[in-house]
Amino acid sequence: MSVATATMPRGRTLRPQLSSDDMVKRGLMLVISLYLIVALALPLYVLLSKSLSTYQFDLNIFEIQRSDETGTNFSPARTVADLNAEVNAITPDQLNTSSDGRLHVTGLFQDFSFRSPVKYRIRATTDNASFLVGSELKRGKDWVELDSNTFRRVVLRPVSTIGLDNFVSYFSTPALAKSIGNSLLMGVISTVLVIGIAFGLGYALNRSRMPFKSVFRLIVTIPILVPSLLPGIALVYLFGNQGLLKNWMMGYSIYGPIGIVIGSVFFTLPHALLIISTALSVADARHYEAAASLRASKWRTFWTVTVPGARYGIISAAFVVFTMVITDFGLPKVIGGQYNMLAVDIYKQVIGQQNFEMGAVVSVLLLVPAVVAFFVDRAIQKKQVALLSARSVPYDPKPNPGFDWGCFAYCSLIAAFILVMIGVCQLAATVKFWPYDLTLSMRNFRFDLMDGGGWGAYHNSIKMALLTAFFGTVIVFTGAYMVEKSDGFRIGRSMFQFLAMLPMAVPGMVLGLAYIFFFNNPANPLNTIYGTMTILVVCTVTHFYTVSHLTALTALKQMDREFEPVAASLKQPFHKLFFRVTVPVCLPAILDIAIYLFVNAMTTVSAVVFLYSTQTQLASVAVLNMDDAGDIAPAAAMGMMIFYTNVFARLVHGVISRFLLVRTQTWRKR
């Protein structure tokens, strides 16, 4: 038989007829793709194009005629540039402006008076030129005749050009460009410190027989449950101008790099530990036995076996930490002082100076390292997974009192650091006036007396977190199911995967600003959600989409691939399988996604800080605003409210998970 040479006859390849299930699945995937496009891709696109748009007044494209006192005899038409050449009423640096730029023209006529009977005619000479009369937009080459009083209300509008001008002006402003170096420096220093500390912790937790491991594990997760503003506030109380331990600073100020680094260590530590601990816990005991049989010294074993085994975890954790530090906004806002960081610059440009284009430029700059870190991390994750799936024997450490107690001391030190930071906030929140009057008082919790939204902000946060947890979990899990458990439609599925991974690379500040550009545009029909709870929920779900999506995928990948074919062969619709089998089996993962979204919705500041309105103030933003207004103790109190709420949510999650585990262990055991 001429097997080797067989070639397929030419002909139309078959296309499958789709079942109604296939249609529904594709429809759902499409809906969720659309969600991600609207909530992520389009805003980012608008942000990018904003960063490339510059606005200038072009004085050559407007012409003005002026009448005499009778209001009937008009002088010949002259361009505004021409008129300005004589009087220099408009300076060259006035010509560079923003998308909102408006330029009055009465200054061109030195004897202008709004009471004068003199009339003016004005027109544009190109199609892209426009000007406002009051609030009425005028375009086109027809003359518009106005009396003096109305002419007073004429403003020219700038024309936009696409180019790198914004970036050029960014880099030629030293005060701004310096932030890049600052952010990178803080990122590198914090990363090195955190990875060192986390590796030590991970090593102690996985490789020693020290007591109280689970207590330490619990303490180290605390920073996840508070906004990143809180370590800043704690540092202010400890080392700030009236700080308890101010003289520990030996004359240096906590406001600036020192504060940023210490705070960053605090809030990134749990994330680094989680990744490194996973890498260390999968280490293969066989390598250690081999090393022992070769009589390798402890130190050599550490460098030749332990570190290489965990290298992917270490690299991955480093990228995660680095990205978190440079994109975080809350901490440098509170403790950064005059030390500018990129994320804070975005806030200052947008909220402080209303310079949206420059905000967009900084956002794009912030996006670069985050995207690079994202791709490196993805590449490494793949290798790590390959390492994980190899069959290995778990390493079981042997007791070694000296080493174990060393580990215990080390972990105690780290735990103390975390507990002190939280404890300080707790104290500051519940005493009258730290550190002068330490009598217990609840007055810092009377949020309604402060700016920032009061208790309403707290209730909004709870509502937002619940909505985010609910809708986020539904959207994420459904999307992950459709992409993982449907056949064909390759292009659609890989596009969806890409969209789902993208949020990880987008810093919160960037997302928030992109939302302003996209949703706060009157031309956008979705404009109606601007300033509502909906946009906060949409933003938060999108912001934390990737990790949730990966959690769902991991759970779904563990489900037998043949469930769907079996159900189809039994003529049962996929939704029956989905609700009767997939969801119950994946329930632990679903609950994990929900709690993850809830906790992050409670603590997030960066994206929502641009998006809340007076009706939708949030607790985490209230912490920021109260701190900004100098109400530090109430800010700490609100931060602690977030902490209590998250602890409570975690407890509820833990109880439900435990209950489920007990109830389902008959069929879970393998």
Partner: protein, 387 residues
């Protein structure tokens, strides 16, 4: 020396009942016509055609990666073939989605729903809006009875052994009384003892229900013992379709001969008289149509070699292809002796032969001894050299 061993021992072939007899003049239930399947540049199926009769038990047999699962999945509509048509019960199902086809399927993993009890697993396909609860219950009970697991109804899959899970998967697939049963390596995850036992059970069940069945396997013993017809596949093409005895006795290609049962293979040449020349000896062989002078491979199975003593007292009739040999090595394999026989006529090659304990005792065969080996002409197969 070239001797190919496929499995532990040559299996005595139990001839399966001839299905043409059991279902006289049954029409083709499944007609597969010129199926091609490509994965990018790789062709997993290259023009596969076959038809299966109503009630037949067919095995797709071939080495791993030859395209058996791909063909089964095409029939199930799980992985659409690139080209070609499939008809089931006179209906063109080539491009239908799985839910519009009529089959039950059992995967290698069984794919039992872990969070549903055995009962609920079996009832999964029965639960339709208009079917009364009592009827479902009765049908589930009936199926549990059928697979002999009535006492396990309330248990979860994880609480059952592999063999029991396998039977539950079978019961679930059969619950909706499909016209076609598809089994993809249903026994390969089980240990040897259970496997042999379940072979009979599945075959028994299939006979009882009369459902047309396709089973994919790479285990020749499984295929030989269960199938009415075997479809031997290799590299995406069908090498041969036939009853177990046909593919064993009359393999159409060297691949089939080699894959099913064991073979001795000798390079040889066809003589002018149509015999084969093997190391200076002309041997008579089964009829063939290969041109004189062609390079061929002569094949005989170890079990087909007949032992004779040197003085020829054992001769009955007029044996042909008698060769004087030296017993080079003997290996006791329980129910027979495996002997490696050398002769100057084979050159470097060794003839492997399986002799019964009886024959060894009777003829006094021993290592280093001399004897005669008969290569019966009907069992001497000749295949043209590939390429």
């Amino acid at each position: 020396m070239r001797h190919v061993t496929v499995s532990e021992a040559a299996t005595p072939v139990r001839s399966a009942p001839d299905m043409q007899g059991a279902h006289p003049a049954a029409a083709d239930y499944l007609a597969i016509d010129n199926i091609w399947k490509s994965f990018g540049d790789f062709l997993a199926l290259k023009g596969v055609s076959l038809s299966i009769k109503d009630g037949e038990f067919v095995c797709f047999l071939g080495p791993s990666g030859c395209g058996k699962t791909t063909l089964l999945r095409a029939i199930a509509g799980l992985d659409l073939q690139t080209l070609g048509t499939i008809q089931q019960a006179g209906r063109d199902i080539s491009t239908l989605p799985p839910s519009k086809r009529d089959y039950g399927i059992v995967f290698q993993s069984y794919a039992l729903f872990p969070n549903l009890t055995i009962e609920k697993n079996i009832a999964f396909g029965l639960e339709n809006a208009n079917r009364p609860k009592a009827e479902i219950k009765a049908r589930v009970a009936e199926l549990l009875e059928l697979v002999g697991l009535s006492s396990q109804a309330k248990k979860y899959p994880a609480q059952l052994s592999g063999g029991q899970q396998q039977r539950i998967a079978l019961a679930r697939a059969m619950a909706v009384s499909p016209g076609l049963l598809l089994l993809d390596e249903p026994l390969s995850a089980l240990d040897a003892k259970v496997r042999v036992h379940l072979r009979h059970e599945i075959k028994e069940l299939q006979r009882k229900l009369g459902v047309t069945t396709i089973m994919v396997t790479h285990d020749q013993e499984e295929a030989l013992s269960m199938a009415d017809r075997i479809v031997v596949m290799n590299h995406g093409v069908i090498e041969q379709i036939g009853t177990p005895t046909e593919v064993y006795r009359h393999p159409k290609t060297l691949f089939v001969a080699d894959f099913i049962g064991e073979t001795n293979q000798f390079p040889a040449k066809v003589t002018d008289t149509g015999r084969v020349a093997l190391g200076g000896t002309d041997l008579v062989c089964a009829p063939h149509d290969i041109a004189p002078g062609s390079e061929v491979t002569a094949v005989i199975r170890p079990v087909d070699v007949i032992p004779h003593s040197l003085d020829g007292t054992e001769q009955i009739g007029t044996p042909e292809n008698l060769i004087d040999v030296t017993v080079d090595q003997m290996e006791f394999l329980g129910s027979f002796w495996r002997c490696r026989l050398a002769s100057p006529r084979f050159g470097e090659n060794i003839l492997v032969a399986d002799f019964s304990l009886n024959a060894v005792r009777r003829l006094g065969i021993e290592t280093g001894g001399q004897m005669r080996a008969e290569l019966p002409q009907g069992r001497m197969l000749v295949f043209a050299k590939a390429g």
